[in-house]
Amino acid sequence: MAVTVDSEGTGHWRELRPGVLVRRYAELDLTVGLVLGDEQALVIDTRGDRRQGAELAEAVRGLTRLPAQVVLTHAHFDHCFGTTAFTPAPVWSHVDFTAHLTATAELQREAWTRHYRAVGETETAAALAETVIEFPDRSVDEPVVLDLGGRTVRLFHPGPGHTDHDLVIRVEDAAVSFVGDLLENGACPDFEDAHPLRWPDSLGQVLGHSDELFVPGHGDPMSPEQAARQHTELRSLAELCAGVSRGEIGEREAVAQGPYPEETVRAALSRVGGG
């Protein structure tokens, strides 16, 4: 089924499997999720500012009256700054999420407010500037299973990857995994806070079910083949990074051989040198 995404800041729902939906946005090509049980709903990521979060909360309310819980895949603004619109719902994240958000929230806000002003999106800049940042109140260390009524979802941290606190949400009966930015469809993986050497093994914990659908944090849902392809790319980039850190190859050689554009490869390399 084709997904239509408009430019007005509102998204479009698409039902992947019964009661398992994604909502797609033009803004950053973001993908958020909604899982419906018989007794509760689970919202996966909350968009990037107060206004965007309110739009999503309203859209969820147009689909279900079930009491909702929220889970955040990681602490980057576009996935979690809209949370205020959902409280006092319980909000889940990985146990290391809060430390990352505490350390970076104002830096993220500043950098992206500047970006939106620079590109003339003054309303988005203003919404981001005035957003009250809400912190999660439920943390995941060991895997957590949530019973939504007639279906369970498993929240687990597969290991360091896109960040040190990525959370994967697997809808067990539907074989759908929401993987946050561990996968990206239509753009290169982002290495700003990444652990390039460990990302492939962590992602490997998530792959392996043959009929699984993988929902990335940006772009359309992915087949197991598409996910495996990205896994291979991440692994070859990890090998290049390891080669550079051991002094076996130079950075220029790594960039030339890398599976991604120079900027992405250099971002990954910079995360390895410094640890």
Binding site: G19, Q40, L66
Partner: protein, 249 residues
């Protein structure tokens, strides 16, 4: 027919798609079917389709009068009133423009009661009608996960305790049964007969207007509701009862 019948005959055992009538039929189907589709074409299920299709939610209320008012109030729902007297009622045409996100309390002594009983049996409950037959069939088939699906024609109440045959419900049930994915499995004779009735209709609109329930509505001035109800497969809603409320998914 002998008084004691085996369970096999009671529940159309051995078939994945089963069909029965009214509250007793629903209870029997519910013994084995984890998924029940309640079909009440004129007008409960059509009203649910219109409201949920517009992005609203429906709280089915088996009671009427004060008890319905109390239940709606407790749930924070807008109570639909009697036909002709209220902005929103069981008349489907009053529900086409209900605001997204609204919770409507919909009193219906027959359709809503069937849904409540089905939910008490622990079943996954869909409200089906001609408008959403294919969408509901797809969702019900997926929800069944290789188990049997029971389709229930609501029928119309005749007096206090008896039920009459309602042709619009057998056609609605037949539309749902016809659209169930083949992988769900074999149909009982009862289910196949309903499906065949639907497939053999050449003038769906004419039959709906001329059947007993349709004539009644047209006579009372609700011909528009029959027009909405007879449009097959125009809706993308699969109204499913979750925590006592119908939404489009």
């Amino acid at each position: 027919m002998r008084q004691e019948r085996s369970n096999t005959s009671l529940v159309q055992s051995g078939h994945a798609v089963r069909f029965d009538w009214g509250i007793d039929g629903l209870r029997r189907l519910g013994q084995e079917c984890a998924v029940l589709v309640v079909v009440d074409v004129l007008s409960f299920a059509t009203a649910v389709d219109m409201a949920t299709g517009a992005g609203a939610h429906v709280l089915p209320l088996p009671q009427e009068d004060d008890r319905a008012r109390q239940a709606a109030e407790a749930a924070g729902a807008v109570l639909a009133g009697p036909r002709g007297e209220s902005d929103h009622s069981l008349s489907p045409s009053t529900l086409s423009d209900v605001a997204e996100g609204t919770l409507i309390g919909l009193p219906s002594p027959n359709g809503a009661r069937l849904c409540s009983v089905a939910a008490e049996l622990g079943a996954i409950v869909f409200a089906g009608c001609l408008r959403n037959a294919s969408t509901v069939a797809g969702a019900a088939g997926a929800a069944a996960r290789n188990g049997p699906v029971g389709v229930v024609a609501a029928g119309e109440r005749r007096g206090e305790h008896t039920l009459r045959f309602a042709v619009e419900d057998v056609l609605g049930a037949g539309a749902v049964i016809s659209a169930l994915p083949p992988e769900v499995g074999s149909r009982s004779v009862e289910a196949e007969t309903a499906a065949r009735s639907y497939r053999n209709v050449s003038d769906l609109r004419g039959e709906l207007r001329d059947c007993e329930s349709g004539r009644e509505l047209v006579e009372w001035g609700y011909g528009q509701d029959v027009e909405l109800a007879c449009l097959a497969d125009v809706s993308a809603a699969a109204p499913r009862l979750r925590a006592g409320v119908f939404s489009r998914r």
